[in-house]
Subunit: 198 residues, 2 copies
């Protein structure tokens, strides 16, 4: 079965529609997805940025919010800008990584819905615990696992791999033959590629 | 008839496939296009950049060249990287602006084919003169008009308008109701919007 890895960052705005769309698109094409949460911070730091490029470069930021509004509108997804933007996504990424593979997509979508659908902060353990409970996961255990040293190191390693693969941002799809497709608007060509080059 | 403005920069890599695609896409939708050459330099300078972001941020640059290779491959367009990148596009933009509206698209596509299809430099008057001759335009007259003060000022004004409209880069489509669609991958939604909101 063709495979692709879906790389996403909880603070990333375009990762929201991508996370909501990608599973159905992959299923339509018979592509197995591996969900890979990672952190953009170290990647941006390597480009000399200490903030989101959407904040550093206001014309890009203004464009992105309007573009995202149109995209979410066309998909029927609610959009509420979280304050501050970007959100601190470290704990959410750790929780996502600590979960079983089968639970990661549902938790990740729940985080995006809360953050960009409802505009809720996602940095607090209580918030993430509530989202875990909603999807039927024992929250206290998952939160405890999230902050174990091995899991913290795992997220660092996953982020290092994202950089090594040449990801320029989030979201991305990567394929078994080393291709990178960047952006919510590249999900379809990325999954088509994964299927065609299986 | 619905209208849209197509904003492009001759040094911009993604403007190449966009310029080759946009006329047919607009015709299919019954949207009248106005071709607007402008310069990214002043826009980038406003973001603190003195070079292409694809050179300033190597991960973005590596990604862009591979992405463009895939896009051109899927469209059957030749791709040869011009050296240096970005090309000095000032004279080409002046020539494009000086031409009659009806000649601008053909000249612009000829420039992109030479630059990104064949990897030829586009900064020399002799090169641009050859392209003008190929499309049946009196080259000497067009080149002379290009460097008249009024035309130089016209290009500055057009670039200032691009910045005022909030363009974050090139290529872009703008619609009568003030929407901006950025990127080769936004031609279809931009033209759909122009038609739907006529």
């Amino acid at each position: 079965m063709a495979q692709a890895e879906f790389w996403y960052e909880f603070a990333s705005s375009y990762s929201y529609p991508a996370a909501m769309r990608v599973e159905a698109l992959a299923a339509e094409r018979g592509v197995a997805l591996v969900w890979r949460p990672f952190l953009l911070g170290p990647l941006f730091a390597g480009q000399g940025w200490r903030d989101s490029p959407f904040n550093l470069f206001p014309a890009k930021g203004r464009y992105m919010w309007r573009d995202l509004e149109r995209i979410c509108g066309s998909l029927g997804l609610p959009l509420t800008r979280p304050e501050p933007f970007p959100q601190n996504s470290l704990l959410a990424a750790r929780v996502a990584l600590a979960l079983d593979d089968a639970l990661r997509p549902a938790f990740s979508r729940a985080v995006y819905r809360a953050e960009f659908g409802q505009g809720r902060p996602i940095d607090a353990a209580a918030t993430l615990g509530g989202l875990l409970t909603e999807i039927g996961v024992a929250a206290e255990l998952a939160l405890a696992r999230a902050v174990e040293d091995a899991n913290k190191a795992g997220l660092k390693a996953q982020t290092a791999r994202a950089i090594a693969l040449g990801l320029p941002g989030a979201p991305c799809l990567t394929t078994a033959d080393g291709e990178v497709f960047w952006g919510n608007d590249r999900l379809e060509p990325g999954l088509d590629w994964a299927r065609a080059h299986d």
